[in-house]
Symmetry: C2
Subunit: 131 residues, 2 copies
Amino acid sequence: MPEDDRLSRVFAALADPTRRDIVARLAVGDATVGELAEPYDVTVQAVSKHLKVLGDAGLVSRSRDAQRRPCHLEAEVFDLMTKWIERYRQQAEERFRRLDALLASIDEESGDGTDGTDDRPAGNDQTGAAS
Amino acid sequence: MPEDDRLSRVFAALADPTRRDIVARLAVGDATVGELAEPYDVTVQAVSKHLKVLGDAGLVSRSRDAQRRPCHLEAEVFDLMTKWIERYRQQAEERFRRLDALLASIDEESGDGTDGTDDRPAGNDQTGAAS
DNA sequence: CTCATTGACAACCATACGGTTGAATAAGGA
DNA sequence: TCCTTATTCAACCGTATGGTTGTCAATGAG
């Protein structure tokens, strides 16, 4: 499966409060569909659907114990999200730092505010760069 | 806004590849709607909708520069996600460690495999615990 | 003032989503 | 064997989503 697709599934799966709640419960310990359904006032079928979504996203795996199909949380998928998030957070924070440095340098040489624009660090001139 | 709702919006916003791509571009630098729309073969209106979703999730903010409405990435929202993810990842990993310790302790006293069930660490007996 | 640019809003369409009910499958227990 | 439990599958319903086209508001340039 394409990694992009997988990321989409994971994010979409966690966009639902009930499914996040299920993940929270599974973090405590494995559980069956019936057990997971109990706290909510929805049918077992609905929870089964939620579990299918979580399963397709790779967040939970199922095993078999007689008629039961216990659900198990697969924590490693979280790494995929964390990696994605951290990447852009760091990028954004880096950009913020650069802007901060720019403002500081402008502040330093206050009095001849005519050529300060040349101090702009290269690489963040996205605005206005496109045709 | 309820935090749960906010989290849902953020996850839902990032569940779309185009919107993740937009976030990636904004991490490099602010941009206008038109600039953001260019790489994709969808209309500007569609991108505007995407930006509304990202805005409602608190992921991007808008300012005004003449007719233009530059988009700016708000990195702090990532913290909300990271916190949620780390919480359950750590819980799941902790549970994994406990299971590992259990298996190790069982392995140690191999030979009298009759009462090993009492060695189960407390707190992870979710399965079968619900009434 | 008039026009071009930038972007948002409204209405519409097809599809996906979360939920339901009802029936089917799988596995034990009487 | 028949019945109960646990879970899924199938069909349906209302609403949300991502996309389109068309129109309108805001602003700057001629």
